[in-house]
């Protein structure tokens, strides 16, 4: 989870990730919008070495759903 939060922080510098939990909604991340969600997708692919293909983060509403997607694509978490 820590690695995921680091990625979120790198894309959204104003995100107070210390307070985030799996239930945190993506739309509550400061500056979250459809364009910035693509930046997060690109960074997740780089850091976790997975391909999110063209589905992007469509329909993902929470940190937990992001985690599930990454695990589904084979990402390793410490």
């Amino acid at each position: 989870m820590k690695k995921l939060f680091e990625v979120v922080k790198s894309v959204f510098p104003d995100a107070v990730v210390e307070k985030y939990t799996p239930a945190t909604l993506l739309e509550d991340i400061p500056d979250w919008d459809s364009m910035n969600s693509v930046n997060l997708q690109i960074e997740l692919e780089n850091v976790f070495g997975v391909s999110l293909l063209d589905d992007g983060l469509d329909g993902k509403t929470s940190i937990q759903e992001l985690m599930n997607l990454l695990k589904e694509k084979g990402a390793k978490f410490d």
């Binding site: 500056d31 364009m35 690109i42 063209d54 589905d55 992007g56």
Partner: protein
């Protein structure tokens, strides 16, 4: 102050959305959907902001059949200058051969064109100039992070210019009034953090600090709120109603912003001149480029009111009320 002619310059290189291959293929349709932008222009490597500005100014002077030596002053609106100093306008003065003109820059980011027009009016009122070139030029492609999907697809390079004079005869439009606003509490909403005294180049520890950044949601709210309010403000101030505004040219930032301003002001969207699909957001130059295209197409009647509206970094926003004269072909 009267506008006698206009000009523009767009670099030759066209970058379509599908050529932005650094981004996931599935994200490309979002660009058109979220911004209305289909392509943008990028300056060639050897071109800088002053080159684009000079080309736009020359276009304007050529249409006017006026010698550059007749120009008393050049005001260049830019937020992407050639260098920290000197003013980019000084190189424009040299490039176009306006040897008798004073020249300086105005930086009000995307509102720059409106602020520069207002400044020019002051020079006419004080008798310091009879003919001026007001030009807005931007080369944002040099300040964008090619990997940032939230900024890179939005912006394009380009320049627009007008020839302004204190003589009414033969003019295309009269500048009736201007309204300008700034809210410096939002100075970090849109910025290029590094390169100035706040974060000099040698103190820069993150490469991204040298890139343009903006807080998209805040910018959208600011733009639709202030863009709508200033339209009402400038019309009310001049005893006009919003329904009497025949044409509106807003900063060409995003089609969704323009549609929302149209909805809030109840000014039909058909009365908004839009060219952002082709050029993207050319920052301070966007209103001036659109003004040139609007005037060149001659899609208006004598006596029509045209309002220019811009909003951008600073935060800053402004509006110019123009009364259009008889149409004529301006080459």
């Amino acid at each position: 102050m009267f506008i006698h002619n206009s000009g523009k310059y767009l670099p030759e290189q066209i970058i379509r959305n599908d050529q932005l291959t650094q981004f996931p293929k599935g994200a490309i349709p979002l660009i058109a959907q979220k911004t209305g932008i289909l392509s943008r222009r990028h300056a060639a490597k050897e071109q800088c902001t002053s080159d684009l500005a000079a080309n736009a100014a020359i276009d304007c002077l050529t249409k006017s059949n006026l010698d550059a030596a007749s120009i008393d002053g050049i005001i260049l609106a830019t937020s992407s200058p050639d260098r920290i100093q000197p003013a980019t306008a000084t190189r424009v003065q040299h490039l176009i051969g306006a040897k008798n003109a004073f020249a300086f820059d105005v930086n009000s980011v995307c509102s720059g064109g409106i602020f520069a027009l207002a400044a020019a009016k002051g020079f006419f009122q004080t008798g310091l100039a009879n003919n001026m070139i007001v030009v807005a030029s931007e080369v944002y492609s040099r300040f964008l992070n090619p990997s940032d999907f939230s900024t890179y697809p939005y912006f394009g390079d380009g320049a627009g210019a007008v020839l302004a004079s204190n003589q009414a005869e033969g003019s295309l439009a009269e500048l009736v009034d201007t309204v300008l606003h700034t809210d410096g509490s939002g100075s970090e909403v849109i910025q290029i953090p590094a390169g100035g005294t706040m974060k000099p180049a040698d103190a820069m520890n993150l490469q991204k600090d040298s890139f343009f950044s903006m807080k998209g949601k805040e910018v959208y709210q600011f733009a639709v709120e202030k863009g709508s309010a200033i339209l009402e403000e400038i019309t009310t101030k001049n005893g006009l109603s919003l329904s009497s505004v025949a044409h509106v040219i807003t900063h060409q930032a995003n089609i969704n912003i323009i549609q929302e301003i149209s909805r809030r002001t109840e000014i039909d969207q058909n009365r908004f001149f839009v060219n952002l699909s082709e050029y993207g957001n050319t920052a301070g130059a966007s209103v001036m480029i659109a003004l040139d295209e609007f005037l060149s197409r001659g899609i208006y009647q004598a006596g029509d009111y045209l309002v220019l509206v811009a909003f951008g970094g600073g935060l800053s926003w402004g509006a110019t009320l123009l009364r259009l004269n008889e149409r004529r072909t301006i080459l």
